[in-house]
């Protein structure tokens, strides 16, 4: 494996709400290597977006980071000075949002939004870029994102474009200037099914062309299996299993991964899976031990009292489950 780009270490993030404190991320560890495409999978509310937003330090006001590090090229994003974070956001990491309609200011033209995004990514270097050059770069980026008539799109307001076009605009923005990491947070969830595939292929093509690393956040196992090299399976704010995409899909260890994968309806017999009984973690009163233990069919007594450590079952394949740490002779 090549050089380590991003290293999230033991990240713990919560949200203050009226009823108390939601302890969402409970010690998340993620590594992203240069040029790698990594998927983060989990159901709605499993803390995927919180992970993404922590990387860029754009968590909502109510969020609180308790512990952990987000090391980008060995520098902790969470303790960076404001200018350093600005530089990181302008030149290193960009993000594609879940809902392009909500993520584009409704009363600004695409051109005016893009010129800010591109313009600031260069002013950080101290060199001023002429508006005409910025415009040129915006047009090029839109063209690369397969958008017809880029000049007209620059003059348009977001509501004048279709959902798919808005997401293409966002992808163009994310890759208009060189980046070492792109975070795509459920980039196709809010789009028509017919558009989803095109958008994913576009992201994949641009990422490959520009040798950028990708974090793809999704609840869709399908999307992740097609798009990524490696996968982190999350449940209730913890990483339960991580492996090469193919390994994880062919040979899942964690009971949650197994249950989830068996839920995929197959065309060749079997019908629909049985689903997973129980409910998502209540973060106000999260289980003390393994967060999946209340729903786990194979839970042991120890699962309810202690958090399972991450153990390597095969090279590169790690599982956080006592079922496997015992096999390893603990």
């Amino acid at each position: 494996m090549s050089e380590l780009l991003l290293n999230i270490k033991d990240l713990k993030v919560g949200y203050r709400v009226y009823k108390g404190l939601l302890r969402v991320l409970n010690g998340v560890n993620i590594e992203i290597y240069k040029g790698e495409r990594v998927g983060i999978v989990g159901e709605t509310g499993s803390g995927k977006t919180t992970i993404a937003r922590s990387i860029l330090r754009i968590l909502p006001k109510a969020a609180k980071i308790f512990d952990g590090k987000v090391l980008f090229e060995d520098k902790d994003v969470l303790t960076m000075s404001k200018p350093e974070v600005s530089l990181l956001r302008r030149q290193q990491i960009s993000m594609i949002f879940q809902d392009p309609t909500a993520a584009l200011n409704p009363v600004s033209t695409i051109g005016s939004i893009m010129s800010d995004v591109i313009g600031y990514s260069y002013t950080a270097e101290g060199s001023r870029v002429k508006p005409s050059q910025i415009r040129e770069m915006a047009i090029n980026a839109l063209r690369l994102a397969s958008l017809p008539a880029p000049e007209r799109i620059l003059a348009s307001y977001p509501f004048q474009l279709s959902g798919g076009m808005r997401q293409r605009v966002f992808i163009a923005m994310a890759l208009a200037t060189p980046r070492s990491l792109v975070i795509a947070d459920e980039p196709t969830t809010n789009l028509d099914v017919t558009i989803q595939d095109q958008i994913l292929r576009l992201i994949k093509r641009l990422i490959d062309e520009k040798h950028t690393s990708l974090i793809l956040i999704s609840h869709s196992l399908d999307v992740v299996s097609e798009m990524t090299d490696r996968v982190y399976m999350t449940y209730g704010g913890t990483v339960v299993e991580q492996a090469n995409t193919r390994d994880l899909f062919e040979n899942p260890y964690h009971p949650y991964s197994r249950a989830l994968l068996s839920c995929i309806p197959r065309l060749s017999g079997g019908g629909f899976g049985s689903g997973i009984p129980g409910q998502m973690v209540d973060y106000l009163a999260a289980p003390r031990g393994c967060r999946f233990s209340p729903r786990c069919p194979k839970a042991l007594p120890v699962c309810r009292t202690e958090a399972p450590p991450l153990v390597e079952t095969e090279p590169g394949h790690k599982v956080a489950c006592f079922l496997f740490s015992e096999k390893q002779g603990s």
């Binding site: 600005s86 584009l104 200011n105 800010d116």
Partner: protein, 340 residues
Amino acid sequence: MSLPSWLAKRLGEAVIVLVGLSILLFCITRILPGDPARIALGPRVPESAVEDLRKQMNLDKPLPTQYFLWVKGVLRGDFGMSLLSRRAVVTDIKAYFPATLEEVILAAILQFAGGIGLGILAAKYADTWLDGIVRVVAYLGIATPSFVWGIVLLLLLGYWIPILPIQGRISPNVTPPPHITGMFTVDSLLTGKLGVLWDSLKHLILPALALALAPMSQAARLLRSSMCDDMEADHVYAMRAYGVPENRILTKYLARLAFIPAISVMSLDAGSLFASAFVVESVFNFPGLSRFGMQAILNKDLNSIAGILLLVGVLFVLIIILADLIVAYLDPRTRLQQRG
């Protein structure tokens, strides 16, 4: 819809509103108790003279005829004679209106500048002590009627700390500037008499402030809350994620969005300044239109009442149209969105 056709439509609507207003005004002035001709002439004049005046004023004709005769006059710019001053109503309005206009304009400037400034400040420093102060002041501003502010300001800055004059438009020892627009501030500025300008501004500031405090507070609260709502919006986080500086997000993306709902309310409030001016001018003994209007109402001076109220109505409608134009400029969705 293109801008000209949109504007034409709004102006058409405005005409309908004004026709309705004129009918309403006309009815109200005629329904008020008392015989205007008798009040105008006094109790000692013989009945025959009163009868003559009634004929002269068309009061003997049926109401619809009276209305059309009145409208015919209004369209020619003739609002009839004032029964009180025995001058053309237009002449009286010309004499009194500039004072009120400069008072209201200054109040509107204070309202917008103060409201927008305080609103943005409170939003930027939301949930800090600064925000707390702005919120308390804004509550006080809204909850206190303008005439109470007038009296408080008079006591505070005119009596206890006497740094500002307490009544009138200009000091007795200062010669008013030559009549150009009738607004002392503008006229003195045009003729280069800065001393006179300063003196008339000192007279204006307290009434204008008393007028402006309530709508200013309202504007600040509205802006603060809509900006705070938008601050947690996805598109703001998106701009932040791309390293756009906070101040630029605030001034370019947030303020514009927050102005859209606030601007309509702010301009309605600005229109209402003319109404509040009626009371505030009495407190400050300010020789403006509303003091004149008050006397007209007490004396059942039909033509003056109708003339003044129609003028205020027209101004109100114009302000609303202007507000709609500003909103259309700020919000492309109202301008460009195609229905269907």
